[in-house]
């Protein structure tokens, strides 16, 4: 039995793409927390523009019919939607595997019980650190950590499987072992040690988040050791940090190949950061069917397959493996989304990303710019421009 990769890696660009495996439904951008590493866009969607219940249900039905297997109910905080139980029940009914990605804050026990009764398959709970005070500081809310502990207890009592997700950055990277112990203590079967990716709010905060190369190396060794020690008890999945890598990750498993994202307003994205590529045109579920957008949407076609690539990717034997890495990162650092992800050491911009990382890592302090509605959009632009400047 093998972990499945999408069948048919040799699909040409224009023939209908294989069905997506997963869909991330960003039900709302509202969230009681304000994590500085949040990958949500700096300009958050407002509640007034959110899709209504019936539209989400239709989208879930369409997704299931297309072949989507996993549905990630996310946000923001998905339980901030009043119709979360109804939406979950519908997703279960149409055969989707439902995963609730939650902060655990502001969710009443009764609500969680209703979700369990509706057939929710899995809960993924974020924790910010193993040290409660620091965790609360990162989340931007006092007492948040303790509430999460209580929430995790309810998840177990209700017999739901739990994954703990910890986004790793300078402010908690030394506590990975304690984070993993905490995941065990919370009763998780799986933990994600996910190094912060620098999009959205995280890019704003890069100087406050970036660890040093030594920290990253030590963290990787710790994860390897723990994975071995805890085999059969806890599954540890790690998202490796990009900026110090030699080869990029296959971002979202390949653009328009395995997964899609729907924003609170119904915009369909190939990856959650795709909106940073400003010349792309995105379709809305309110205007077209999901399958039409997936198969023919111009944003999906833009970087699907390999024909859009430039050197060094065009002639690289890894091009069907990592698909040239992340388009958004290529744009943010090199100015052209068709370039190889600068995380790749074959990219002429590789030295730049390494030096950006080292410069950010050398900064002191954790004076986070907290994620919130209408916060400093002007500052955001300045920050991004600076990234594009030669280093």
């Amino acid at each position: 039995m093998n972990d499945m990769t999408i069948p048919n890696p040799d699909q040409a660009t224009r023939v209908p793409p294989p069905a997506p495996l997963g869909m991330l439904a960003e039900l709302t951008h509202r969230c009681p927390l304000s994590c500085p590493y949040c990958s949500n866009p700096v300009e958050l969607d407002k509640r007034s523009g959110e899709l209504d219940t019936e539209t989400w249900k239709r989208v879930f039905s369409e997704a299931a019919a297309m072949g989507v297997l996993h549905l990630h109910l996310s946000g923001g905080e998905p339980t901030a939607r009043k119709d979360i139980v109804e939406l979950t029940a519908h997703a279960v009914k149409v055969g989707l595997y439902t995963n609730l990605i939650t902060s655990g804050i502001g969710v009443a026990r009764e609500k969680l019980e209703e979700l369990a009764d509706a057939g929710l398959d899995h809960v993924q709970l974020s924790i910010q650190d193993a040290l409660p005070d620091n965790a609360d500081k990162i989340a931007g809310l006092k007492g948040a950590h303790e509430k999460k502990r209580v929430f995790a207890g309810w998840v177990l009592e209700l017999g739901l499987p739990l994954t703990i997700n910890a986004v790793i950055h300078r402010g908690n990277i030394e506590n990975i072992e304690a984070l993993v112990s905490m995941a065990l203590e919370f009763g998780a079967r799986r933990v994600e040690i996910a190094h912060s990716q620098y999009y959205g709010w995280a890019l704003e905060n890069r100087d406050m988040l970036m660890p040093t190369r030594e920290q990253v190396m030590r963290a990787a060794a710790t994860v390897d050791r723990l994975r071995e020690e805890l085999e059969g008890k806890l599954v540890i999945d790690a998202v490796v940090p990009d900026y110090y890598a030699r080869r990029p990750k296959p971002c979202v498993g390949g653009w328009g190949k395995q997964s899609l994202n729907v924003t609170p307003q119904g915009k369909v994205l190939p990856c959650h950061a795709a909106e940073t590529i400003e010349h792309l045109q995105f379709d809305y579920v309110t205007e077209k069917s999901l399958s039409e957008i997936w198969a023919h949407g111009s944003a999906f076609e833009a970087y699907r397959g390999t024909s859009w690539m430039k050197e060094p990717c065009t002639s690289c034997p890894r091009k069907e493996i990592d698909f040239g890495g992340c388009r958004c990162q290529a744009l943010a650092i090199t100015g052209d989304p068709r370039n190889a992800d600068p995380a790749c050491s074959l990219s002429p911009f590789h030295a730049k990303i390494t030096s950006l990382a080292m410069k950010s890592a050398a900064k002191e302090g954790t004076d986070y710019i907290y994620r919130r509605f209408g916060a400093r959009p002007g500052a955001a632009r300045v920050e991004i421009t600076r990234n594009n400047a030669p280093v």
């Binding site: 039995m1 972990d3 499945m4 739901l160 994954t163 079967r189 059969g232």
Partner: protein, 93 residues
Amino acid sequence: MTDVASTATPKLPRGVRLRRDEVRDEWLLLAPERVLKPDAIAVKVLELCDGVRTVEGIVDELAAAYAAPREQIETDVKKMLEDLANKRVLDLA
């Protein structure tokens, strides 16, 4: 490592689902962030993992169904169950 006892009664925990995928025309085992592709025999084994049957019982049933040497089947089944338990997609208890 997990040693699979013959008396264990394996079952798929909540959050792991064996399902027929009509779009791709194949069997899938869905788990958190994972899609596993069981072959025909693995599907047969998984269908028997109901938390009531013992590993021993499952092996007996398969040996009868496939007219294959029991020992061979036992090794294969235990190996598979152990592998799935290590991935936390199967409960052995």
